[in-house]
């Protein structure tokens, strides 16, 4: 089969590899009909996430048709159409029973590596480093899905791939980012980053009925899309984020803030971001936390900060005194995808939202390597890429 494989920094190739096989009775094999490049895939592409090996199959946002099931899998049958959440979950451990699926205690088959890095193991993820299990990803013609009697979401007839594909990652990620803010009708929610997750944060905040949604970015196309979804926009290249947020909130600052940017923040005009870039390049820190610093500064005292943006390691000069003295609450985490999928699928079926709005490019799998560049460089109006194996 064909699959996109990691061969080093800035080197993703469409290679021919052996087809996956059932390895455990709970497995299933999925023929991928649609997959997507996620913003967090770019952290692999740019070489900022440790734990990748030459030849790893990438991709964690995918869906398709079941073509083979293991003998113990009573949930799926051949021919079922499913979206596969990027977190691999057992459904039985203490964390899964609490709904904390992204920190499933059983599915990371490289537990020791994760424990060394994070203190405790987190869930296995598709196509996302050996720290999270080293599982083959979904930017391929076929994928082996472990614990397939738990994770995959069956898709009813009548919905297109484009409407449901993002249930596997960015839609629930944007949704959880807002839900964990405990949004209130009187709240202003400010969202840094208008990439795909930022776009779903905007829609989720609107659906959940907050007073005011503000989207912060510097790419005009992204800001136009965020505005279409109901956000007030701030282009940080053209105006001061802090001043504008204070203006929009009567000087009090937003109650709720979201970092939908993560470890590769671009803010070339600020001193701290320049220092971050130098330190990251010389391995004195791993991530660039400019957005977090700005959020902590501008967030209203006793406010809440949600961080769906991916961070991988250590960050410097985080003003923790601000966090403590302002009494901020911080909520973070990879997405507990299965916790939200039933509800979000219903909302898609009822026509509350059509997630396909975010797709700007649809190409064949073989063009994937080229699209990594296009997406990373925000060329050609690219916001979200769907690949068709």
């Amino acid at each position: 089969m064909r699959a996109l494989r990691y061969h080093g920094k800035h080197d993703i190739r469409c290679d021919t590899v052996p087809d996956p096989e059932i390895e455990h009775p709970r497995d299933a094999i999925i023929r991928v009909t649609s997959c997507a490049i996620c913003g967090s895939d770019l952290h692999l592409y740019d070489g900022f996430m440790p734990g990748m090996k030459n030849g790893d199959i990438v991709g964690h946002e995918f869906m398709g048709e079941v073509v083979e099931v293991g003998s113990e899998n009573k949930k799926l049958k051949v021919g079922d159409r499913v979206v596969v959440p990027f977190t691999i979950v057992c459904g039985e451990c203490d964390q899964c029973r609490r709904g904390n699926f992204s920190v499933c205690e059983r599915t990371n088959r490289n537990r020791e590596m994760a424990e060394t890095a994070f203190g405790h193991s987190t869930a296995g993820l598709f196509g996302y480093t050996h720290l999270t299990g080293g599982y083959a990803g979904g930017q391929a013609e076929y994928v082996r899905v472990p614990y397939a009697d738990v994770g995959p979401v069956k898709i009813p007839d009548g919905l297109t791939d484009e409407q449901v594909l993002f249930l596997g990652d960015i839609f629930p990620t944007g949704w959880q980012a807002i839900v964990q803010l405990d949004p209130q009708p009187t709240d202003t929610v400010a969202i840094w980053g208008a990439g795909p997750v930022g776009q779903f944060c905007v829609r989720s905040a609107v659906l959940l009925g907050v007073k005011q949604v503000i989207s912060i970015d510097n790419v005009p196309e992204r800001l136009a899309m965020a505005q279409a979804g109901g956000a007030i926009t701030i282009n940080f290249d053209e105006e001061s984020v802090v001043e504008r947020l204070n203006e929009l909130t009567g000087g009090k600052g937003p109650e709720k803030c979201v970092d939908a940017v993560g470890l590769e923040a671009h803010a070339s005009g600020t001193i701290d971001s320049m220092v971050d870039r130098v330190k990251q390049a010389t391995m004195l820190e791993t991530d660039r936390p400019h957005v977090l610093r700005e959020i902590f500064y501008v967030c209203r005292p006793a406010g809440t900060v949600s961080v769906p943006g991916v961070y991988g390691g250590v960050v410097d000069k985080i003003p923790f005194g601000m966090v403590m003295n302002k009494g901020l609450t911080i909520r973070t985490g990879q997405t507990h995808v299965n916790r939200w999928t039933d509800d979000l699928l219903r909302r898609i079926q009822e026509g509350q939202i059509d997630p396909s709005f975010v797709i700007t490019h649809t190409v064949g799998l073989e063009k994937g390597p080229e699209m990594y560049k296009t997406f990373r460089d925000k060329q050609d109006g690219c916001i979200k890429v769907v690949l068709k194996p």
Binding site: K9, H10, D11, R98, G99, V179, Q180, D182, P183, Q184, P185, Q199, R203, S204, V206, L207, L208, G209, P220, E221, R222, A224, M225, Q227, A228, G229, G230, M274, R277, V278, Q280, A281, T282, A302, T304, G327, T329, R331, R339, D343, R347, G351, Q352, I353, D354, P355, F357, V358, T360, D377, Q379, D380, G381, I383
Partner: protein, 178 residues
């Protein structure tokens, strides 16, 4: 659109990264052990100049590693190589017992200068096109089939899970739970 030269942009960027680290390593040696360098070259008394060149190398190396477009920093290295060659030439006289070392150093610097030049030129040839990016209008992509107005609050039936609610201590005393 990228224009491919002798080296692809990705390979040139990889080479630039290696040169950046080399620059930092050499710079650290020159800055922290200038005497070792001058003694090996028979150019004692030039320690301050060597240390200054070390600072130059470190700054250039960091510039290459930290920049999204390291091309100008690579051209800076080419200029630095010329300066190094000029300075080394001062030690290539017959009275210098270490002049053979100076000769080796000059040949090495000349070789590195060629690599710097090729890399800088490749980055220049393969730089992203400067034509204005295609502007796409996404102003109608709301994602809400029934319109953005109807969508506002459409999911207010959703109950926030207990573990994700704002701690009561941080909630306004007069606010009931939504």
């Amino acid at each position: 659109m990228h224009h491919e030269g002798r080296l692809s942009r990705d390979r040139a960027l990889g080479l630039a990264e290696a040169l950046g680290w080399f620059s930092i390593g050499l710079g650290a040696l020159e800055l922290f052990a200038p005497r070792t360098v001058t003694r090996a070259l028979g150019m004692e008394g030039k320690e301050e100049t060597v240390a200054l060149y070390g600072v130059r190398e470190i700054v250039t190396g960091i510039g290459i590693l930290a920049s999204e477009n390291p091309g100008p920093w690579l051209w800076g290295r080419v200029g630095g190589d010329a300066l190094d060659l000029f300075s080394l030439a001062g030690g290539a006289h017959a009275d210098n017992p270490q002049r053979s070392h100076v000769g080796v150093a000059m040949a090495t610097v000349a070789g590195i200068a060629v690599v710097d030049w090729v890399c800088a030129e490749a980055l220049q040839e393969t730089r992203p096109a400067t034509t204005p990016p295609r502007r796409v209008d996404y102003a109608r992509r709301s994602g809400f089939p029934q319109g953005a107005h109807a969508a506002r609050g459409a999911a207010s039936d959703f109950e926030i899970p207990n573990d994700m609610r704002t701690p009561d201590l941080l909630r306004p005393l007069n606010q009931t739970r939504h």
